[in-house]
Amino acid sequence: MINYALLMIAIGVFAGFAGAILGLGGGIILTPILTLLMGVDIKYAIGASIVAVIATSSGATIAYLRDKVLNLRVAMFLEIATTLGALSGALLTGVIDPKYLYILFGLLLLFSGYNMIRKLISHQEVLHLAHPDKLSSKFKLDSSYFDNVEGKTINYEVEHIPGGLAVMYGAGIASGLLGIGSGAFKVMAMDTVMKMPLKPSTSTSNLMMGVTAAASATVYFFNGSIKPMIAVPLALGILVGARGGSRIMRDMSARSIRMIFVPILFYIGIEMFMKGIR
């Protein structure tokens, strides 16, 4: 039993570390590890993933709030769309064939991956608008953060707020209905659609995904999908890993984070697409 717990803690440290840096919940990493390697039933793997998302989010957010990297206004503003999406997703269970959603969301992620590659090639990380976006000013979404790598404060502006809200609503539906991909879509909405820099995007995604996951976590908690023997050591490991990851992230360049992010986006995108056409 000690060995099993230690193994789960180790898996958690890894998932929390990666999740904190990339703004992902880790479900996409954890579900295959738990089901294929550890032989965990898919029902309990999903339950453990939901707890994992919350642990990653809470563990990383502590550091990101202290470092002032994340954008709390953007988080709360967009969270309306995500939580509404999660609620509609839960209500839509059984109404919509998840098959089409897998295809749609898979393609969206591939498109987002393509956009990120374009950003890598063009070497343009921060957007400066000639004309400030009206909605962005109205909701005070423009902000700044101190970039350790560049050694300076970076002011940024965001744009395409309605587009960002739409993708966030979709992200909510995806997490409520399919139980996956909520972090990847959040980063996509902020980075690709709203043109927010990558570091505030991944750290804001970290804060948000915990709130979105909490909305659906009670369902899993009360229907017995969350097995304490799996979820507890995993969550403890993740809390430690996420703290470590959030510290390392400060000293990583946005470019290198993006380089890790792109293959993962393609992996998740192809995975979802294949699930849809199967």
């Binding site: 039993m1 000690i2 717990a5 707890v51 919350i54 642990a55 989010s57 809470s58 563990g59 957010t61 502590i62 709030l65 202290r66 002032k68 994340l70 709390l72 206004r73 709360m76 503003f77 969270e79 309306i80 939580t83 509404l84 999660a86 609620l87 839960a90 400030p132 000013s137 909701f139 005070k140 423009d142 902000s143 700044s144 804060l207 915990g210 709130v211 996951a213 909490a214 909305a215 659906s216 976590a217 009670t218 369902v219 908690f221 009360f222 229907n223 017995g224 969350i226 097995k227 304490p228 023997m229 979820a231 507890v232 050591p233 969550a235 403890l236 809390l239």
Partner: protein, 126 residues
Amino acid sequence: MDKDTKQQTTEEMADVQLIIGKILRLGVLVSATVMLIGLLLLIVKGNGGYPNNTFPTDFTEIWHGIAQLKPYAIMMLGIFLLILTPVLRVIVSIYSFYREGDNLYVVITTIVLVILGISFVFGILR
């Protein structure tokens, strides 16, 4: 927005983020401690305290289990506390925006909390 107000907003945000960070850290510490106690107890006792490796999933069962120091009951309480940490984050954000006098964001964050509340009720009923 002119430069002064932008600067002011940034500074206010810094304060708010520090307060939220502190309260969130406390919440995470409490849930992690409860989970850790449960896990250690499980390792010491060698079983979760329930027949056939089952575990409690409603509040009554969990409370009864905690009173008898059953490892799985304590672990489930820890998980539930962890699930509450994002909710705590939203509540503290409302308070902080209120203290800053940012009514727009008090409203926005309250809407998030209400939607969360509806989801919780939905989760319990389903």
